[in-house]
């Protein structure tokens, strides 16, 4: 098992190298004077020259790349012009907000989508099946930012049920002492249930938006995979052996059907990390997505770079975790690895 993990980690390295190279190239592709962009719109000519030296833009490309990598190794992602702090620190501070939101959204989505898709496959042609198909086709068509806006409009503005879409906590409360950075966990750790409720209330709409967004591909894949497995030879054998429908559906069909769903999760994560950016803008969520967007507007490019790099590395690690999970479920992969 350890050798297998080791081998998988080894395949991650080229991806990370690729990511580093691409992000490096992206910064060098900036139209106009790169140094000017990093110095900011209000910088004087002298300041721009200083920034140029600082960034090593006067050196050759390979040297620049070397500097870039060395900086990365030290965790140095540059400095944000707008916040004045190091990008690494900014990202570290804001990452938990995005992580909490994304994870909750994904958990909600999976817990609805998987049973829905499975049920739709088992009861083909029924109401559940049709509902599933409509939901998945519609869900895939909804622009995530539009969904968020609609939800906010209906549930906050019209019905007044939801909290005001202005961030992680209403201004009445202050955040709990940091343990994980996840407000839900931290407030429970501090035994502050009122705070927990407040944080949860703020989470409802944005998490629901992300959930609606990721519901569709998961349900779709679950349904397709279940249908395929239910039509397979070994399920026929199970039925012919008189196994109860519960055993057939759960132990025989569902477990096998989950394999492609797990693989799809990787794709879903990719979409989610992108959708995150949009949802954070709609709900003023102080995560790294909105951090990057704010920086973009002010032409502050170091945070944007840092954001792209962080997201990519996170995604690579997530995919690794999914591969390992897959290997756990499917013994055929285990042997090969």
């Amino acid at each position: 098992m350890l050798t297998q993990i080791g081998r998988r980690l080894a395949t991650v390295i080229p991806s990370v190298i690729g990511v580093i190279i691409v992000t490096f190239l992206l910064t060098r592709v900036l139209p106009g004077d790169t140094a000017a962009y990093f110095a900011g719109p209000a910088a004087s000519a002298q300041a721009i020259e200083e920034v140029r030296k600082q960034l090593g833009l006067d050196k050759s490309l390979p040297e620049q790349f070397g500097r870039y990598v060395t900086d990365l190794a030290h965790g140095d992602l540059g400095k944000s012009l707008t916040t004045g702090q190091s990008v690494t620190a900014d990202i570290a501070a804001r990452l938990p907000a995005s992580a909490e939101l994304t994870l909750i959204g994904l958990v909600i989505a999976t817990s609805i989508a998987v049973p829905l898709g499975a049920l739709a496959a088992v009861r083909q042609g029924s109401l559940v099946d049709h509902a599933c198909r409509i939901i998945t086709t519609a869900g895939v068509s909804l622009p995530v930012f539009f969904t968020g806006l609609l939800l906010a409009y209906v549930f906050y503005y019209q019905l007044g049920w939801a909290a005001e879409p202005l961030g992680r906590l209403s201004f009445l409360y202050s955040p709990p002492p940091t343990v994980t950075g996840f407000y839900l966990i931290d407030s429970l750790a501090a035994r502050d249930f009122e705070l927990f409720q407040a944080a949860a209330a703020q989470l409802v709409l944005p998490a629901a938006t992300l959930a609606i967004f990721s519901l569709a591909p998961i349900a779709r894949m679950t349904r397709a995979s279940m249908l395929s497995v239910l039509a397979s030879d070994f399920v026929r054998t199970a039925r012919a052996s008189g196994l109860s429908s519960g055993t057939v559906i759960v132990t025989y069909a569902f477990r096998n059907a989950m394999l492609p769903v797990v693989t799809t999760l990787g794709m879903v994560f990719s979409f989610l990390l992108g959708a995150n950016v949009l949802v954070e803008k709609v709900f003023a969520w102080p995560g790294i997505g909105s951090y990057a967007v704010e920086a973009l507007i002010t032409s502050d490019f170091a945070p944007v770079q840092g954001f792209v790099l962080t997201m990519a590395v996170l995604y690579v690690l997530l995919n690794l975790a999914i591969d390992l999970l897959y290997g756990l479920i499917d013994p055929r992969i285990r042997v090969e690895g």
Partner: protein, 336 residues
């Protein structure tokens, strides 16, 4: 397939172990490498009927049949025509000039004069929505065409020839896939600049891995097919096989993929515009219009963001349905 041809009793047209899964995930079967081989390879599990003369059904017949059976597909086709009309004749049909601002008439809710209301600059929203159809659709069409050319061709080459071609294309696709795709698009447009061309390029780049993978999987399956071997026997060189045998067989699946990606491309462009990385104001584009209307929405002026958002949703929905319908026509075994 004749009903009676699969004599194992499972009369389903679509249940023969072909999975939707395969096309999305493109896994190679791990069990195929088993070294125990006292099983004769079962290339065809069933024995066809000795004599059945079936009436010929052309592609058109089949298409009409599928549409007839599935009215939703027909509906999608109709919707597609509507959208196409808006795109082509948009500026002619729109009642007002999409760029004409009239601050006196700002923030009007939907009325007889302005069916979709007016925005903060007094511009007629319906005209803007209709005009924007052309831009959004054009972005989608061009990026899909571009990625079909790049991704489709390289995928087919990689899948058919294997070796270094496969490795290089694979590495390229993997590098792109290492990024969350929208984030990468953000990065590319941020680096290259806010123009429509760059949005098209960015969208094409982020869709490259998907197309390359689908094309590769299709070409790979057919690489070892009997008719490809037969084509070698009848004197076809490898390149000729790719052009005359592989591509025509891969195209239908790619067309389905294109239709599905159109929707995604529109959403992508709109998303980029929403965060300010897309088209610049005052151009009429659905994403930007939603962004402009977002702030107003929470204070009750829902129509500014709603109509462009609905237009987005309807077009993407239409393309998805269309893609599903096309998939039914092309490959009924992969029905969702």
């Amino acid at each position: 397939m004749s009903v009676l041809s699969d004599d194992r009793g499972q009369m389903s047209d679509d249940g023969r172990q072909m999975s939707d899964v395969g096309s999305l995930v493109a896994n190679d079967s791990p069990a195929a490498g088993s070294s125990f081989s006292d099983l004769r390879p079962l290339t065809s599990d069933f024995r066809p009927l000795t004599s059945d003369i079936r009436p010929q059904t052309s592609v058109l017949h089949h298409a009409v049949y599928v549409i007839g059976e599935n009215p939703v597909t027909g509906f999608a086709f109709a919707l597609f025509l509507l959208i196409a009309v808006c795109a082509i004749f948009g500026p002619l049909v729109a009642p007002y000039d999409p760029l004409a601002s009239d601050t006196a008439a700002a923030y009007q809710s939907p009325s007889a004069a302005h069916w979709f209301g007016t925005d903060q600059l007094g511009r007629d929203i319906m005209s803007r929505v209709i005009t924007a159809t052309r831009l959004d659709l054009a972005i989608a069409v061009f990026s899909v065409a571009l990625v079909l050319l790049l991704g489709g061709v390289s995928g087919v080459m990689a899948g058919f020839f294997g070796g270094w071609t496969d490795r290089i294309v694979g590495r390229l696709a993997d590098t792109i896939m290492a990024f969350p795709l929208f984030v990468l698009a953000m990065g590319i447009v941020a680096a290259l600049g806010n123009t429509v061309t760059n949005i098209v390029i960015a969208t094409a780049i982020i869709n490259f891995p998907l197309y390359a993978r689908v094309a590769r999987a299709e070409a790979n399956v057919r690489r070892h097919a009997g008719f490809v071997q037969a084509a070698r026997l009848t004197g076809n060189s490898e390149m000729r096989i790719v052009l005359t045998q592989i591509l025509p067989n891969v195209m239908p699946i790619m067309v389905v993929q294109m239709s599905l990606t159109m929707g995604y491309a529109i959403l992508n462009a709109a998303g980029l515009s929403f965060i300010g990385l897309g088209v610049r104001p005052p151009t009429a584009e659905w994403g930007i219009m939603v962004a402009e209307g977002a702030a107003e929405m929470v204070s009750g002026k829902w129509w500014i963001a709603f109509f462009p958002g609905a237009a987005l949703m309807i077009s993407v929905f239409c393309f998805n349905l269309l893609g599903d319908g096309l998939r039914d026509i092309v490959d009924p075994q992969r029905r969702t």
